[in-house]
């Protein structure tokens, strides 16, 4: 297991690239461009440059001194980015932001998180003294063929929610929209996981009638809501 995570300075270039490139990409789109735009405060440019310096500096310690690397590459880098955004103030207004750039920048931050998430020290769960060693355990059953489309649909829906939040151009409402989109994405993903696992599961679900009875009241509420919505739409 330890071969998979060489705790040496000889960390391959691919590992370093995986740490550097997403951070650099997110920094370019969401920190550098607004900080070096016309009208930005000089202090914001200094902190933006400092963020890039600490990110690049972290690469020199990823192989050997992981704690220092994480302090620089995660805490210091994000700290400088946050200070830059705070100094930019109105420059970051959603009314001025390019939506495509903001969306791709968000994607860059996700990749940055995954990149650093992969980097860990020599300690892996299998090295723990209480870990049960032996041949890997195999799953007792396979996923139902319907499980994958359900999960894929939920992922697409979650991405759509995130994209729709970028349509909101009022600053206060934009924050609410992003929070709502994130919450909706999380609950949809959680529900889809349950639905996907329930397909062909060995745990026997209640009978069809019982399951329909469970949602009878809520179904009635939904019907009433749809009725109100139809009347509302007709009156407008």
């Amino acid at each position: 297991m330890s071969e998979r995570n060489p705790p040496s300075e000889l960390m391959p270039l691919s590992e370093r690239t995986r740490v550097l490139l997403p951070g650099l990409y997110a920094w370019l789109l969401t920190v550098e461009l607004p900080a070096f735009s016309r009208g930005a405060r000089p202090a914001a440019r200094v902190t933006a440059l400092a963020a890039m310096v600490v990110l690049v500096g972290a690469l020199f310690f990823v192989g050997g001194r992981l704690r220092l690397a994480r302090a620089l590459g995660i805490y210091a880098f994000i700290g400088f980015c946050v200070v830059t955004w705070a100094l930019l103030g109105g420059e970051l207004s959603p009314l001025r932001a390019d939506r495509i750039r903001a969306a791709t920048g968000s994607l860059g931050w996700v990749l940055y998180a995954f990149g650093w998430g992969r980097v860990r020290g020599g300690r892996v769960p299998e090295d723990q003294p209480f870990a049960v060693l032996g041949a890997p355990l195999f799953a007792r059953s396979r996923l139902h063929p319907r499980a994958l489309p359900i999960a894929a649909f939920a992922v697409l829906a979650a991405l759509l929610f995130g994209a729709l939040a970028f349509r909101v151009d009022r600053p206060e409402h934009a924050v609410l929209a992003h929070a709502t989109a994130t919450a909706c994405a999380l609950v949809v993903l959680a529900a889809s996981a349950r639905i996907a696992l329930a397909q062909g599961t060995r745990v026997e679900l209640a009978s069809g009638v019982s399951r329909l009875n469970v949602v009878a009241v809520r179904g009635a509420v939904l019907s009433v809501l749809f009725g109100i919505g139809l009347v509302w739409a007709a009156l407008r």
């Binding site: 359900i150 729709l164 609410l176 639905i195 679900l205 329909l212």
Partner: protein, 66 residues
């Protein structure tokens, strides 16, 4: 097909329909928020929440007492 199997299929179909309806309602809510139609946004988000809650409640396993 027995009646029990038929009702189980109906329940599965309702389950999937409710899930799709919840996703559509959430998307419509966020779309309405982008168009500055706040009341409609709240309406669709409530509909989505109820539909999604119904979806997950339908997946309860059979109780051992039956």
């Amino acid at each position: 097909m027995s009646e029990r199997a038929f009702m189980s299929r109906v329940a599965n179909a309702v389950n999937v329909l409710l899930f799709l309806a919840a996703c559509a309602a959430f998307a419509l809510g966020l779309y309405a928020l982008g168009d500055r139609r706040d009341l409609q946004a709240i309406y669709w988000l409530i509909v989505g929440g109820i539909a999604l809650k119904s979806t997950t409640d339908m997946l309860r396993p059979r109780s051992s007492g039956r």
